[in-house]
């Protein structure tokens, strides 16, 4: 493949071919709030030599375009497993994941991912990390530079564009991770406990920043977290999982405008309610 040629996302979408670095354009005809992703009957069984563990069972969910949907559940349930299935990093035993009409069976740039432990390339600078996906897609050099800098500015790291990863704090690292996912304009962004490795204060700041990014875009995000507070602060819908085998216990709509006030009585009431649901899960198991 020559350098100047831009990689085309494998499948044809109608008569149109869309670049791998702008897969969100594939689904521009789907209106805001329309179903973008369909997860149907997901089941994951881990087989070891002498036992079978059902990690996830009959998990079905329609993800609407432009929403942030978070998945919470008791620790050790299959939150991350579900996300890895959606990303294509793990093959579910049963069930399908579709974006629009396209089945997602292997990883692709249409599902960007932000990892809990950042997963940044230590031998690359901040800017080079953000450019990685565009390099893969064969985006022209000057466009790479322009887009990378735009997103590095968006996450407030323009002073650190040429820094190496080990020179950054945890919060800064995850901002690089977010910029690296956003810059590819994926159809869906998957976030696997992105702020789990950060201290409480940094975590709040990061939540506020992510909130700002959501408000100013029509990004579709699936967000896995173990923090109910975080889920309520950020999401349009909260999916509560049961203990293993994980399945949906309840889906809660969070209709409040952004930015949200964590001290609001409604907020605290709903948080308490969700925590009780989670507590119930633990009791049921015992």
């Amino acid at each position: 493949m020559s350098k100047s040629k831009i990689k085309i996302e494998g499948q044809k979408w109608g008569s149109e071919r869309v670049r791998a670095d702008r897969t969100d354009e594939l689904y521009k005809d789907i209106p805001e709030g329309g179903t973008l992703m369909t997860i149907d009957g997901l089941r994951v069984v881990y087989v070891t030599d002498d036992s079978e563990t059902v990690a996830v069972d009959s998990f079905s969910l329609d993800v609407k375009k432009g929403e942030l949907i978070s998945i919470v559940g008791p620790s050790g349930c299959g939150k991350t497993t579900i996300l890895r299935c959606i990303a294509g990093l793990l093959q579910p035993t049963e069930g399908t994941v579709k974006i629009g009409d396209k089945a997602c069976t292997s990883p692709g740039s249409d599902r960007g991912m932000v990892f809990q432990d950042f997963a940044l390339f230590p031998w690359r600078t901040v800017k080079q990390n953000v450019k990685f996906g565009m390099e893969i897609a064969g985006v022209p050099k000057d466009e790479q530079e322009e887009r990378a800098m735009r997103y590095i500015k968006a996450v407030g790291l323009e002073k650190f564009a040429d820094s190496r990863i080990h020179e950054l704090s945890g919060g800064m690292k995850q901002r690089v991770g977010i910029a690296r996912a956003l810059v590819m304009h994926p159809a869906v962004i998957l976030m696997d406990e992105p702020f789990g490795a950060l201290d409480a204060q940094t975590r709040n700041i990061m939540q506020e920043q992510l909130d700002k990014i959501i408000v100013h875009s029509d990004r579709t995000i699936i967000f896995v977290t173990h923090s109910v507070d975080e889920a309520l602060y950020l999401s349009d819908r909260v999916v509560i999982l049961t203990k293993r085998p994980s399945t949906i216990y309840k889906v809660i709509d969070v209709p409040w405008p952004r930015p949200r006030d964590r001290a609001n009585p409604e907020f605290t009431k709903l948080r308490k309610q969700i925590l009780e649901y989670l507590e119930l899960q633990n009791v049921m198991e015992d």
Binding site: G108, M113, F115, A119, F121, W123, M184
Partner: protein, 276 residues
Amino acid sequence: MSLNYDEHNKYHRFARMVLITIVSLAVFVCLWWVVSKLANNAAIPEPMETFEALFSLIVNGDAVTGLSLSTYVWSSLNKFLRGFALALVVALPLGLILGNFKLVREFTSPWIEVLRPIAPIAWAPIFILLFGYVQGATFVVFVGIFFPMLTNIIFGVSKIDRVLVDASKTLGASNLQIFTKVLIPSTVPYLMNGIKVGLGIGWMCIVAAELYATPLGGIGFYVANMITYGAFPQAYAGIIVIAVLGLLTTGLAEYISKRVSRRMGMDVRCLRARSR
């Protein structure tokens, strides 16, 4: 006078190290002197005689053959560098392939495990027969460097951070792109470690090969030659030259590998545990 040693001061630490090294070497020379006196044997010359011979070797060269020290050193170094380059060129792609493809690794592992424990010098007679004196030595060095380099690269590939592979997959990377853009860069610190270990072993191999087969020339030949003439101080002077050159090569390799790892944002401390 009070000496306040500060552990956190870089210069204090350096001064301490230098002081300890000097005292240590001085004690070593004293012990050497005592042993030479007690043994009273020509095969263990006194330190002063040896240093005189060393000085004469550096200034006047070899009195027997009339060759200068630099000729000897260059002759050894030349063979050494060829063997090293050959090992690098073969071990790097092979290590990446073996590390990456389980079946190939499992299939070839018996070969490697059979060949690896053989002392490189044991190959010398065969290699000299096959490739002649000069190239034969190159191949002895090659064998010495090849295996530590290969195992370090294979180890490096196995130590690749799976999360980085996942991340590059979600950014659309193909298997080939993962290989070139993730696997190769993340193996570099391990490769450097392999080079470091290989250099030390390679240096031993070249000198051993020269001692074994004197027509190979080089600094090992000088030592062997001096021993045949019974010129032990001169032989010991040659041994000191070998030691210093060995220290320089491994020191240089250590420095480069540290710089590279730091530049690539990878910690060397965790790698050093498995350097041998």
